[in-house]
């Protein structure tokens, strides 16, 4: 699984040791980036030496694992999923009626903002695109630098953001040039001059850094950062809310990780026990409390800033599983760079990528 340092700390100190004690076993953990997992599993399975028994994988990188036959069928164990787990979160692990992945940690982006800065200029946290643009303009005007952050560094973060914007505008991201896509790119092109230049370096983790150091006043990110910012960095003036709506609706991509068992693993039984443990109330409570991870369970009382997470989850959408996600990712990013950053014409450029996407779909 891929976690940040502070997340690993909690996992290794508080989650894993009690399980090891109870089951008399030893769990070794490994940090691996979501994009690297398929390659690693492939390497292990072609060497006939599966050293992993369980992995957590980002829910948008699943199709590849299924396509290459790297994961065990878990349909038999579907009945073991606790009934308190939200039903809609199970669907993401199902491919053609087969359950390959178990839910354990959903995620949804919320908006972080700097209360002091918004109060200073008499602004309210934006609830729609127009207000977002207006706020961005005012910051830029008053402080000469953009203070609203977009994730423009490329790959996953940028695509997730675009996906959310396009669906909020009523579009289908995979079409590239339906009205929703066009509306989104036109809006972003308009917004771009007023956003922070840090946007070019903004990914999941760096974004937290920018808002914590007050280099930006508004950004969208997974909730895990608010804990670090409030507690570790002692920044009390950063608050959160669920987010803004697009012209069509409010939509937030549900991200996060699901659990899977690699094909060829020798400890399936124990892995299943561990999955159950991770889904249990006691562990999920720790995730919420210590890590600000949203919970898969409905029976967990959430702390205050989780209001925003709960509201965001209400507007949750899942990304479509496609085996050509890597190509989609690339074209989305390229379209973003060319249209939003370099200011190339919206429609022509989108038509170009729509055609590229069609060719990939045919393959």
């Amino acid at each position: 699984m891929s976690l940040s340092d502070s997340e690993w700390g909690v996992l290794r100190r508080e989650i894993i040791p009690p399980f090891e004690k109870a089951n008399n076993c030893k769990i070794e953990t490994m940090q691996i980036e979501a994009g690297d997992l398929p390659q690693m599993l492939e390497a292990m399975s072609s060497a006939k030496r599966m050293e992993l028994d369980l992995f957590a994988q980002d829910n948008m990188n699943l199709a590849q694992l299924v396509d290459r036959g790297l994961v065990e069928d878990l349909s038999r164990y579907k009945k073991d999923i606790p009934k308190e787990v939200q039903k809609n979160l199970i669907g993401v692990g199902i491919f053609e009626n087969i359950l390959y992945f178990m839910p354990y940690r959903p995620n949804v982006q919320i908006v972080y903002y700097n209360k002091d800065a918004f109060e200073k200029y008499n602004l309210k946290p934006p609830k729609n695109w127009d207000e977002l643009l207006a706020a961005a303009k005012i910051f830029k005007e008053k402080e000469k630098v953009g203070r609203v952050l977009l994730k423009a560094c490329g790959s996953g973060p940028t695509v997730t953001q675009l996906y959310e914007f396009i669906v909020s505008a009523g579009g289908d991201p995979f079409s590239f040039n339906d009205p929703g896509c066009i509306k989104t790119f036109e809006f972003l092109q308009k917004l771009w001059p007023y956003v922070s230049r840090d946007s070019l370096k903004a990914k999941w983790n760096t974004s937290n850094d920018y808002i914590a150091r007050e280099s930006v006043y508004l950004m969208q990110n997974w909730p895990f950062g608010i804990n670090i910012i409030n507690k570790k960095y002692k920044k009390k003036n950063i608050a959160t809310y669920s987010g803004f709506a697009g012209p069509a609706r409010e939509a937030h991509v549900i991200g996060g990780e699901v659990l899977g068992i690699p094909r060829g693993s020798k400890n399936i039984k124990l892995a299943l026990v561990f999955i159950k443990y991770l889904q249990s109330k006691e562990v999920q409570e720790k995730f919420v409390r210590e890590l600000s991870w949203p919970s898969i369970r409905t029976d967990i009382i959430v702390p205050l800033h989780f209001e925003s997470v709960k509201n965001a989850l209400k507007h949750g959408i899942f990304r479509k599983h496609v085996s050509y996600w890597a190509d989609f990712d690339r074209y989305m990013n390229e379209a973003f760079v060319r249209i939003v950053i370099k200011g190339e014409p919206v429609k022509e450029t989108l038509n170009f990528y729509a055609k590229q996407m069609d060719q990939v779909k045919k393959r």
């Binding site: 994009g35 402080e143 760079v337």
Partner: protein
């Protein structure tokens, strides 16, 4: 005939001593290089795709610009230090201190430079305090400022190497020449212009080309400082392979780099000559 045979037998140990190295280099250097060149021609016209792709063109331009500016600044700075050190004084200690960056791993240099060049980094802190700029400068968002940051970072790490090469050259200049010049009352700039630079020329050529080849291959600094927003040939090849799962275009991009380096090596052999018995 028999003598020759005996000699051949007597010398056979040389063959066995060389064999492991040659086998290794063949399997792990020659084969991969040929393999990646072959791969670059498989799976479509990768070169046409590359040269039509804006990110690749950027990475090519960035690589060449970094090389030009890094060589220029590093050379001037290194020459100044080398002249200074050869001037005498407590040079041993100073030289020891100046060489320290050579030991710092490049990824660590990149990490350290982020403390300086970040939007809220120390350079912006100093500039804001001095009142030079009102708005923090965005060093690492791509473009000319990032080029500058990468060049400065590269300079920090390898200027000492350039300095060592030039220093070795300066120390070979006969002392008598300087003494004669001193008697004739020749000033520093004239000495530099008419004695030092002409005699240093082979060393300068060598330093520039060897460093040029290294700079073509630059990877860690642009990767860790600016990632995909400031691609160079090496990092572009890496992203193609790792992020986009496309070994063929990755192979093509690295083959372009290979050709650039071949040209540089060719120029080197032309200007400096084969590694001769003395320098080997």
């Amino acid at each position: 005939m028999q003598n020759k045979w005996i000699k051949l037998k007597k010398d056979s140990w040389k063959f066995f001593f060389l064999l492991p190295l040659l086998l290794y280099l063949a399997i792990f250097t020659l084969v991969p290089v040929i393999r990646s060149i072959l791969m670059s021609f498989e799976g479509g016209n990768n070169y046409a795709w590359l040269f039509s792709h804006f990110r690749f063109r950027e990475s090519l331009v960035n690589t060449i610009l970094i090389t030009i500016f890094a060589l220029l600044f590093e050379f001037l700075f290194a020459l100044a230090i080398a002249l200074f050190i050869s001037g005498g004084g407590r040079r041993r200690i100073i030289q020891a201190l100046i060489l320290i960056p050579l030991g710092i791993p490049t990824i660590v240099v990149a990490s350290n430079m982020r403390y300086l060049f970040d939007t809220n980094g120390f350079i912006n802190t100093i500039l804001t305090r001095l009142g030079v700029v009102g708005i923090p400068i965005d060093w690492l968002g791509g473009g000319a400022l990032t080029l500058f940051s990468v060049v400065i970072s590269d300079m920090w790490k390898v200027t000492p190497l350039m300095m060592l090469i030039l220093l070795a050259g300066i120390e070979r200049i006969p002392k008598e020449l300087f003494e004669a010049a001193a008697i004739d009352g020749v000033g520093f700039w004239q000495r530099l212009r008419y004695i030092i630079l002409p005699l240093l020329k082979p060393f300068i050529t060598m330093a520039l080309i060897i460093r040029g080849i290294d700079t073509f291959r630059i990877f860690e600094l642009p990767l860790a400082l600016a990632g995909e927003s400031f691609p160079v040939l090496s990092s572009f090849a890496f992203f193609e392979y790792r992020n986009y799962n496309n070994p063929h275009t990755a192979a093509a991009a690295s083959t372009v780099l290979f050709v650039l380096i071949l040209i540089a090596i060719f120029i080197y052999l032309k200007l400096v000559g084969l590694p001769n018995e003395e320098t080997t």
